[in-house]
Subunit: 278 residues, 2 copies
Amino acid sequence: MLSKNKVNQLCSLHQKKGRNLQNLFIAEGQKLVQDLLVSDLRVMEVYFVEDGKLELGSKLGLDSKFELDRLSYFVEIAAEDMKKISALTTPTNCLAVVEIPDYVLDKQALLGKLSLVVEDVRDPGNLGTIIRIADWFGIDELICSAETVDCYNPKVVQATMGSIARVKVHYLDLVKFITEFKGVKEMNGGRSKGLGNTSFEIYGTLMDGERIDGVKLSDKGLIVIGNEGRGISDALQGLLTKKISIPRFGHVEPKRGQAESLNAAVATALVCAEFRRG
Amino acid sequence: MLSKNKVNQLCSLHQKKGRNLQNLFIAEGQKLVQDLLVSDLRVMEVYFVEDGKLELGSKLGLDSKFELDRLSYFVEIAAEDMKKISALTTPTNCLAVVEIPDYVLDKQALLGKLSLVVEDVRDPGNLGTIIRIADWFGIDELICSAETVDCYNPKVVQATMGSIARVKVHYLDLVKFITEFKGVKEMNGGRSKGLGNTSFEIYGTLMDGERIDGVKLSDKGLIVIGNEGRGISDALQGLLTKKISIPRFGHVEPKRGQAESLNAAVATALVCAEFRRG
């Protein structure tokens, strides 16, 4: 049985304060734990319930891909203990405790690829889905404003379906970052070196932007995703170099209040798909 | 103050059983209530909190578009009563009670347009987002399996952001419906009459389907959306006439467990966008 102290320590990881103090986060479910075990992240502990559905050897990737010595603990617990430490309404049969990675943002590398910039997305499900979309479309860096929901929030981690193990998420002051970044870009002559001949742009989706299916899209740049309710802030809008929009079907003016907007994650997916159309 | 009976009656609408018994559902927030008031749905009651932010006349659309006599009740209540009847963690300043519409599915009309078929989508946020996406892309009918989450569940209604007022949702036995529908289609010679020259297809997204960006897509047909975990069932797969897939970027085989799938609503958006590309 888990000690009361251990339960408290693990439960404190449900909150941002506890995660920051311990520099740890939790991830639940076999698929997610497996993805983390084979990733570059450091899995510190795995708690599991032997329910007949879990095969620790092969299913958790312990046979071939996984180096056992990276784990300090691999602990079998009772279902009632899992209930205590889980952040899910319906707990699964395993929970991993993972070190929060210390990613360094390489601005020069950013010049050669497409990355997402996320401004103040508040809903954990939305941020998790955006991370999953980035992974699907081969985008490996996300730069978030400080006000964006914490990507190690258990609800975000679950919604990524494992993509949190592969996409690097940074938290920064976005106005400062993009302003400085534009300086780096100028030093490189406004173009990234030796990586094709499309220029680097800072894109953002706005109601009055140019229809995305009519714009020549670069394979290098930043795509800014705005907040769920108010979109991209004025401060960031001023830093965009290309304003784009997602066409609504049929009506330029929405018919009797036809959908005015799309969910933030859905809009991200539609924009990324257009960039990756090739 | 609302009577205890009234509070109980309204709270019972948070559950499917209560909604079916009373043939009513609830919708919360000014945007959603406004969209419902100007729609063809019957709003039976509106409860509001006078918090200084609500202007009942113009903001609720009562001035021009709205016929006052459709409402039997328009009731000012205290914030504490709103807290009791609301299904939201953070209640808003208005809540509408709406009659569940009795839509009749017109199979002949379906032959001339694009509609969505939803199989066993369980997450309320996903179904709500799918309804919002349908609205954005000018798709006005959704045919759901009986096991799909109830579209009048408060969480679904909120996630539609008002689109529930414009998209018609039907619940049917899908295998029976599509089998019969194929019969109707045959009677029409496999093509719908006088509506362009593309044929009617039953599409579904599968891992091994043809890349959607390489397929000639019809502007008439059914698009089947599968369950979040297991996709489209074998029974429905057997009834598809075109199997399509959404291309993942970069790798045919996912790299070290790269995202294997997309969220159901995200996949729906990507497919609809491709159909509406024109």
